[in-house]
């Protein structure tokens, strides 16, 4: 391949109706249409999905790993925010 690589895209797949799209990986493609086709070929070969999103990786704004403590530690001592005090009926699969 030449030095000019295709841009990177992040791939999100909805595994079935009612669930959210989940990040499954990334791939290279020349444009969004090609990224969708590649995503279909690479990530849904075994009936993993019913819908695909692709987003150019450059469009993702990510949190800085060094901010981890500032952003996330304060949630640890607030257990009442976790819904662990409820009994979840068996029929509810995707809470």
């Amino acid at each position: 391949m030449s030095g000019k690589d295709w841009p990177l895209f992040e791939v999100f797949v909805r595994s079935r109706a009612g669930l959210s799209h989940k990040h499954v990986g990334s791939l290279h493609a020349a444009d969004p249409a090609m990224a969708l086709e590649h995503a279909r070929d690479i990530y849904t070969r075994r009936s993993e999905g019913v819908s695909i999103w692709v987003v150019e990786s450059g469009a993702v704004t990510a949190s800085d790993p060094s901010d981890k403590e500032m952003l996330f530690d304060r949630a640890q001592d607030k257990t009442y925010r976790h819904p662990t005090f409820y009994n979840v009926p068996d029929e509810v699969e995707n809470l």
Binding site: M1, W6, L27, H28, A29, A30, A33, M34, E37, H38, D41, I42, R45
Partner: protein, 254 residues
């Protein structure tokens, strides 16, 4: 069931099955050598679709023939002269533009043909077509997208793409030329009149060619013979490689 004689139906199923098998094998030759990892996988996927179709078609052909030949017997133990695939699909992979041109010209035909076959009076063939047509629609999207990218790409990719089209054009006439077998198939409601697919093929490819800034080659002499078993020099080499393991280890299983 169908009123077509077993012989005609057998011949017709070989034409369909061999075309899928030979093109599927050609595409599998790209495995590990695609221009990009993602594209390598895309071609392997298309190859697997085609080989899957070939398995169904050849298995059915073996049943129709009634001499106990399995799909493997038909795929691995026939010589080139017994193959009934279109000449177009046996053409070598060449560079990526050659492969895309071959795929583009065939996919536009396959989408139309297999769409018609979903309405086949032969229930088994109609069921195979229901699966195949969805696959061909995707293949068409893939190959036409690439034709546009390469045709309307750089000066070099444009020139190469045009040369690929010009070179393969002579093999496109065979798709729409019928003979006794296909007339019988048409009479008995098993398959379409292939001549009627030509204008639909044109309608499909012309706008894509113009979007790709490519010139439609001018028809001159059209090659024929693949459907009757008269092939070019390349098929024998391909089959020798494809069949070598089976011939070295007859009946081997894993």
């Amino acid at each position: 069931m169908t009123a077509a004689s077993g012989g005609d139906l057998f011949e017709y199923l070989l034409r369909l099955g061999d075309t899928s098998l030979v093109l599927g094998h050609r595409l599998s030759e790209w495995c590990g050598q695609g221009p990009a990892l993602e594209e390598d996988l895309a071609l392997a996927n298309i190859a697997l679709d085609l080989i899957g179709q070939a398995r169904l078609l050849l298995e059915y052909a073996g049943k129709v023939e009634g001499q106990g030949r399995s799909e493997d017997d038909l795929a691995y133990l026939r010589d080139g002269r017994d193959y009934r695939n279109l000449l177009l699909v046996e053409q070598p992979n060449g560079h990526y533009g050659d492969t895309i041109a071959r795929q583009f010209l065939y996919d536009a035909f396959a989408v139309e043909l297999w769409g018609e076959l979903t309405r086949s009076g032969d229930v088994q063939l109609a069921a195979i077509a229901a699966k195949a047509v969805k696959e061909h629609e995707y293949h068409w999207r893939h190959s036409s997208g690439w034709l546009i990218r390469l045709g309307d790409g750089t000066e070099e990719s444009h020139a190469k793409m045009q040369a690929s089209l010009d070179r393969l054009w002579t093999y496109t006439g065979e798709m729409f030329a019928d003979d006794d077998v296909e007339q019988a198939i048409q009479r008995t409601g098993v398959g379409p009149d292939v001549a009627t697919l030509a204008p639909r093929w044109n309608t499909r490819i012309d706008p894509v060619l113009s979007e790709a800034t490519l010139t439609r080659p001018v028809a001159s002499w059209m090659q024929r013979g693949g459907k009757e078993g008269r092939h070019g020099e390349h098929l024998g080499h391909m089959l020798a490689e494809m069949q070598s393991v089976h011939r070295a280890h007859p009946g081997a299983k894993w």
